[in-house]
């Protein structure tokens, strides 16, 4: 059923009795599929959707251990931007951003993409140099990014304290106007609904416990699951924090560590914060949801963990930074805090790759910033799986880049030193 005002009005007249499930979630999977996607988060569902809509490789299933969108998709602060330094990264994230811009209409599901502008603050000469380098690199690559003076930054975000006397004064800011936020749950649900409509089976509550391989060729032949064995020709692993565990089932060790990442929201208030602001120096990441909550990203804990819970001191450190940059928020209250598990690579860039195991593909390592890439990641990963060769945008993000030293080290490139 297409979503529209007309449909809503028709249903309103009969007590909304006619709505049907957004996606089909069969209790039992088929005995076999052509492609199985392991992981029903945004990236996995997007992969399934683009496979089904653009490549038609046969029957497709998404296996999700819990409920779809319940991992980092439903736990992140939804910042979307593409102003990355290296051309490889900018190409990937801008590909995603272009898909975001038409996603609601494409999926017939309002993902509430809101390009309200993402502003990244500079607090030192080093930050300014780094910020300007990003601006120059992005503009050359056709990615919008502009430099603001402190006064312009204040005009764009009135709650920001731009006085010169504070501990880390704002010396400037890089602004990507096309950047913004979206409604995280809707992304998972919208992709699930669209994929389901194209025949994809979305199996929730289905944990994968083993990967079956051909004894001769080593190729993937299927998976063992809590709902029985499932045959498949190709297996795409999109399991975020659990990637190391899944890949170990195929005998592969990954360049990944999984860390707890926390986020929090305030109580809802009337519109007060018009954009997204990030500061890597003081560790403040903030926007305001359509519901009115201030949505604030915190840092990772220092130790790897799968507990989905972090220390209260991490929240405190984050709120110190928020109160310092936005002193009017000191009397606001934290309503809810939560944790996710992020898988981090040595160069903090993702892995979108074939693997040494034929038929096994992996999409992981998004660290703290994977949400923004969801459509682009799914799109190029689907192509990589369907053609068994890396999509040009995915090619630099191969698993073997670590052995060759061809790292895409955005974090190091922005690192503070002097």
């Amino acid at each position: 059923m297409r979503f529209s005002w007309r449909g809503l009005a028709r249903e309103a007249l009969r007590g909304h009795a006619g709505w049907t499930p957004h996606w089909r979630s069969p209790e039992q999977p088929q005995p076999g599929y052509d492609v199985v996607i392991l992981g029903g988060g945004g990236h996995g569902l997007a992969t399934a959707y683009y496979l089904a809509s653009q490549h038609r490789p046969g029957r497709i299933a998404v296996l999700e251990k819990g409920w779809i969108g319940g991992g980092n998709t439903g736990r992140n602060t939804t910042i979307i931007r593409s102003n990355y330094l290296f051309p490889e990264s900018a190409a990937l994230y801008d590909h995603a951003l272009q898909l975001w811009e038409g996603l609601s209409l494409a999926l017939n599901y309002n993902v509430m993409f809101s390009p309200r502008g993402v502003m990244m603050l500079a607090h030192s000469q080093h930050d300014v140099q780094s910020g300007l380098r990003h601006v120059h690199a992005n503009r050359l690559a056709g990615v919008d990014n502009e430099w603001l003076t402190p006064a312009e930054a204040k005009a764009f975000c009135p709650p920001l304290d731009t006085s010169a006397a504070i501990r880390y004064p704002v010396l400037g800011a890089a602004l990507q106007r096309r950047g913004g936020v979206a409604r995280h749950d809707a992304v998972a649900w919208g992709y699930a609904r669209a994929a389901s409509a194209l025949g994809v089976d979305i199996i929730e509550g289905c944990e994968v416990t083993g990967i079956d391989r051909d004894p001769v060729s080593g190729a993937v032949t299927g998976v063992q699951t809590g709902k029985g064995p499932i045959r498949c020709r190709k297996l795409g692993v999109v399991a975020a924090g659990s990637t190391s565990l899944v890949m170990a089932m195929a005998g592969l060790r990954m360049p990944l560590e999984s860390f707890p990442l926390q986020a929090l929201v305030s109580e809802p208030v009337k519109p007060v914060f018009p954009c997204v602001v990030m500061s890597n120096t003081v560790h403040a990441y903030i926007s305001q949801s359509d519901k009115g909550e201030l949505v604030i990203g915190a840092g990772t804990d220092q130790y790897p963990s799968y507990s989905q819970a972090g220390g209260v001191q991490i929240l405190g450190h984050t709120l110190e930074a928020i109160c310092e940059m936005f002193p009017i928020f000191r009397r606001m209250r934290m309503l809810r805090a939560w944790g996710g598990i992020v898988d981090v690579t040595p160069d903090r860039s993702p892995i979108l790759s074939r693997t040494p195991v034929p038929g096994l593909y992996v999409n992981c390592g998004w660290g703290t910033g994977g949400f923004k890439a969801t459509p682009g990641s799914g799109h190029v990963f689907a192509a990589t799986i369907a053609r068994d060769e890396p999509h040009p945008i995915a090619a630099p993000f191969s698993l073997d880049r670590f052995a060759g030293g061809r790292l895409i080290d955005e974090a190091a490139a922005a690192a503070v030193a002097h």
């Binding site: 990954m254 790897p304 507990s307």
Partner: protein, 90 residues
């Protein structure tokens, strides 16, 4: 905030410590002799287990010493800690 047992100083809050990665990742004695793949394994590949995890900590704001600990990464509970080169608790 974790409560961490430094083998020399006893139980202290996590604020005094810095995590130092997976334990028992041995630097090859002759790095020049190992293959690119083996070197990549040493540099980057980690077990990252969901379960018992042997890790390194440094009592940075204390005695300054590095040590090893065994922690369950799902519950974050410690089984114990031990000096570098020592044997993990069973």
């Amino acid at each position: 905030m974790l409560l961490i047992a430094c083998p020399w100083c006893g139980d202290r809050p996590e604020l005094e410590f810095r995590h130092a990665g997976e334990a028992h990742v041995t630097r090859p004695a002759d790095p020049a002799a190992v293959s690119d793949a083996a070197w990549t394994g040493f540099l980057y590949e980690r077990q990252n287990p969901r379960g018992l995890y042997r890790e390194r900590w440094r009592h940075l704001h204390g005695c300054g010493r590095f040590f090893n600990a065994v922690r369950h990464t799902l519950t974050d509970r410690f089984l114990g800690s031990y000096p570098p080169g020592g044997e993990p608790p069973a």
